[in-house]
């Protein structure tokens, strides 16, 4: 009946409004919830190939937000800490994706071929380096700093987000002194244990989104 159909369409509109409002509300949450499904994404890596999170179902995935000129990132790369972690865990079957969310013209954006070469060389132990210059992936994950680490388990759920370690400084000497939050969490995930500290406050330079 025409009138019943109108009623149903009103209810449908209501439900649609509700779910879209919830979706909008979720966009405005400032951090992802631990245990929720990690947002899927597709990005281009340095050589142009498409990389999608869904390619790695069934594997543990690490996301590392980076910017090679940020002094906090340099702390972990000049000390070889990050490269060592990348090598150790990719050898264990972890997929390690570095993500650069710097907007064009901002620090960390790979403007020239020499920039790209440098990024490639620094990230050679990781699986891929993804260029996210419109910041979409960064904003979906609410990435605020470089470095910032995320761990996604085999089922695709987010199990760690936050800092790489406990000392917020730019001194390479502090790497050895700090509690390695990220590494500890990754070890726990690989051992099948529950992550003790799944959410820590990340430190670093701000991710250079566009204004």
């Amino acid at each position: 009946m025409r009138k019943t159909r109108s009623l149903f369409s009103y209810i449908a509109a209501l439900l649609f409004t509700f779910s879209s409002l919830q979706a909008i509300a979720a966009q405005h949450d400032e951090t992802l919830k631990i245990g929720d499904k990690a947002p899927s994404f597709v990005g281009n890596e340095l050589d142009g190939a498409k990389v999608s999170l869904s390619d790695y179902k069934g594997k543990v995935v690490v996301l590392e937000w980076t910017n090679f000129d940020c002094p906090f990132v340099r702390k972990h790369y000049d000390s070889n800490n990050m490269q060592a972690l990348q090598e150790k865990y990719t050898d264990q079957g972890v997929v390690w994706l570095r993500i650069i969310s710097s907007a064009p013209g901002k620090q960390g954006y790979l403007a020239s071929q020499s920039d790209k070469n440098r990024a490639k060389q620094e990230g050679e132990n990781a699986t891929y380096t993804i260029i996210d210059s419109n910041g979409e992936i960064g904003k979906e994950y609410h990435a605020k700093t470089t470095p910032q680490m995320f761990i996604i388990d085999k089922k695709g759920n987010l199990v760690y987000q936050g800092a790489i370690d406990s000392i917020r400084s730019t001194r390479t000497a502090d790497v050895a002194k700090a509690t390695p939050y990220f590494k500890n969490a990754l070890d726990e995930v690989l051992a099948g244990k529950k992550v003790d500290q799944p959410s820590t406050t990340p430190y670093g330079c701000s991710v250079k989104y566009e204004d």
């Binding site: 009623l7 409002l21 909008i24 509300a25 949450d29 940020c70 605020k144 400084s169 701000s206």
Partner: protein
């Protein structure tokens, strides 16, 4: 204007630091760091205050204890002799520095960090070496770590003698946040934390506030915080981060009063007892039901209710189930609409908005829209026009010839009309509902809807009740016209609300729009416009003209506190002189209430969000010269520019050069002129 005081102090301090013996300063790429002590000699048992001053390059900032979304506070490493103990760094109130979607808390131009060194009683007299290794981060678009090492000696003697810098140190320390004079509580809702505090007396009108949390990871660093007043108490709605489970919130509460920031230190405790309306779930349901029933007799809803009731009793001769079905659909329309409103408010609460029931009335656009709706309904009731063929489903109140969908739609209409109205009991129930999880909030709203629908539902459920109502007759037409008056009463109330929210000329425009609207409907009724397309064209044009004020309203800032800019002041020649002497850019607006051109410029240009933002961004001092009454001083000022009347718009740049703007302004013209005024510097003498 912000921190001009500290800029001046900074300059003095730097000069003194460079000239006095024993002072050290280290220059880095983007800052000059110097350390000063407040004593020449110190007695054992006393305290020394050391101050690290960073003079920052323009555009670069350093950080507060909680740096915000990124960054790093300074780190001090002391090498102190035995018996000397250094405190943690003490900070001055920070600024919020926005970088795209992220925010930092820190300092621009000058940063001061204080450390107290306690000298134990046991320390013997003598000269002691003190070493400080300071590391800090300065950022502009990029971040650079900087450091400085200071080595100096502290003399312990039998007397404490203050140094020459002691007074400046004390004066700067006095700008530290003082504890808030009264107790501050907070309460959590989903995704939101509300701070409650009593207003501080005699400091002036607070236009906005911001809470800087000392602890990281508790609240959102970037989201705006909404300040509102309720029952003589301030409430600051803050977006919290997921998983916040704090029992106390400590940090700095910064109130913006005029163009000054007043900072207070607070340590707020979680409280549930603070809610002025803390009632239980079932009590809330009961009160929502009662409130809904009483809503029926409020001036806004009463007309709809009565006419529906009359429509129902007119069709008494029909089958019982037929009537019942109508009653149920009407109730469903109301309840579903209330659920929809509730969902919208709950979803909005999760975003960076702080909302409550009645939130919709904070938007002048919504108020004006409802005003138009009520007015049109009032006109219909009076008999100025009948709903045409296309509206017959929604109209035809009295004849009872409605279809099923019409009953449902009437319910929706009743709910829409009910939202701006409140009834006794409703306030408490809604206040409770909005602090609870979604399901409970929605149940309360459903109860409210059921209460609103109850009279009609009962009449259709229990036919004998309908017989209580008077028998249909000619009186119904008179009654229908009579009901227009409560409707117009609601219009007047909405107009009063609108007048609080926007400038007087907007209210005038809205009234004109209502007049145009009534003309349109009268015309349509008189002239049988269907089928004649050019007459329909006139109809549409007039309709659009009457709706134009609504379009204009959405261009204006929706601040409900004041429509003045933060640094707007009343004009006086002395004030102008002082500002120009300090190389400040000034915008003088000579206007009058009876000047139509002035008012037009105000609505179109000066009061738009874009121009207001430009005035704030470029730190322009806005002086308003109101010539509504006779004023010789203003006339003399006008004469300076060979003018005899208003409007007159003059912009002074930092060198004091005046530019007179044309009498008809445009947004881009004004914004460009403001930009030029700010960016001229005293070095660029032409």
């Amino acid at each position: 204007m912000r921190n001009v005081l500290s800029k001046i102090f900074g300059l003095c301090l730097l000069l003194i630091a460079c000239s006095s013996a024993g002072a050290t300063s280290v220059t880095n790429a983007h800052s000059v760091a110097s350390i000063v002590s407040d004593v020449k000699t110190v007695k054992p048992g006393d305290q020394v205050t050391l101050m690290l001053h960073l003079k920052l390059d323009k555009g670069w900032h350093s950080y507060w204890t909680n740096p915000g979304d990124s960054g790093m506070p300074p780190m001090f490493e002391w090498q102190l002799p035995q018996g000397l103990q250094a405190s943690d760094i003490q900070y001055l109130p920070p600024e919020k520095i926005d970088i795209g979607p992220l925010s930092n808390y820190g300092y621009s131009d000058n940063a001061y960090y204080f450390v107290n060194i306690d000298v134990a009683q046991s320390v013997s007299e003598g000269k002691y070496p003190i070493k400080l290794d300071a590391d800090w981060l300065v950022c502009d678009k990029e971040c650079v770590p900087e450091k400085a090492s200071f080595e100096f000696s502290l003399t312990v003697a039998d007397q404490t003698f203050r140094s020459e810098q002691a007074q400046q140190i004390v004066q700067l320390q006095q700008t530290m946040a003082q504890p808030y004079p009264t107790e501050v509580d907070f309460q959590q809702q989903s995704g939101q934390v509300n701070l409650y505090f009593k207003p501080v007396s005699d400091v002036g009108k607070v236009t906005s506030a911001f809470f800087f949390s000392e602890k990281e990871g508790v609240i959102s660093n970037s989201a705006e915080q909404q300040l509102s007043e309720k029952n003589g108490q301030w409430q600051l709605a803050i977006k919290s981060l997921a998983n916040m489970a704090e029992q106390s919130l400590s940090g700095i509460l910064q109130l913006k009063i005029g163009d000054q920031y007043h900072s207070y230190y607070i340590d707020a405790q979680a409280s549930t007892a603070n809610l002025p309306t803390s009632i239980g779930f079932w009590q809330a349901i009961l009160w929502a039901l009662l409130g809904g029933i009483i809503l029926n007799i409020m001036p806004c809803v009463f007309p709809i209710l009565s006419l529906k009731a009359l429509a129902v009793c007119r069709s008494q001769d029909k089958q019982y189930f037929h009537n019942l079905w109508h009653g149920l659909l009407y109730s469903l329309g109301i309840v579903l609409s209330f659920i929809l409103f509730g969902l919208v408010i709950i979803a909005l609460q999760q975003t960076s908005q702080a909302v409550g029931w009645g939130y919709q009335l904070q938007s002048p656009l919504v108020v004006a829209g409802l005003l138009y709706l009520f007015f049109v309904i009032g006109l219909n009731l009076l008999g100025v026009f009948e709903w045409g063929h296309s509206f017959s489903k929604v109209g035809n109140w009295v004849t009872g010839k409605q279809g099923y969908f019409a009953s449902f739609a009437t319910g929706v209409l009743a709910a829409v009309i009910a939202t701006p109205c409140t009834a006794p009991f409703m306030g408490a129930a809604l206040g409770y509902a909005l602090t609870q999880p979604s399901i409970i909030a929605l149940s309360v709203l459903v109860a409210l809807g059921v209460g609103l629908a109850l009279p009609i539902l009962l009449i259709t459920l229990i036919p004998p009740l309908a017989r209580i109502l008077p028998k249909p007759g000619a009186w119904m037409e008179t009654f229908k016209q009579l009901l227009a008056f409560p409707m117009f009463l609601s219009c007047i109330w909405l107009l009063w609300v609108l007048m609080q929210q926007t400038i007087d000329l907007m209210a005038f425009l809205v009234l004109l729009g209502l007049l145009a609207l009534s003309f349109v409907f009268w015309l349509r009724q008189r002239c049988r416009l269907q089928g004649s397309w050019w007459r329909s064209g006139i109809f549409i044009v007039l309709l659009l003209l009457s709706l134009y004020p609504l379009y204009h309203l959405q261009k204006m800032p929706t601040s409900t506190t004041t429509t003045m800019n933060a640094n707007q002041q009343t004009f006086s020649p002395e004030k102008l002189q002082t500002l120009l002497a300090n190389n400040q850019p000034v915008f003088v607006n000579a206007t009058a209430a009876w000047c139509i051109t002035c008012k037009l410029n105000e609505i179109n240009v000066l009061n738009t969000t874009a121009v207001k933002k430009a005035i704030d961004d470029y730190q322009i001092h806005y002086l308003k010269a109101d010539w509504t009454q006779k004023d010789d001083v203003i006339l003399a000022y006008l004469n300076r520019f060979n003018r005899q009347g208003v409007p007159l718009y003059v912009i002074y740049n930092r060198q004091g050069d005046a530019t007179v703007l044309p009498q008809l302004l445009t947004e881009s013209m004004v914004i460009n002129a403001l930009k030029n005024a700010d960016q001229s510097t005293t070095e660029n003498a032409t």
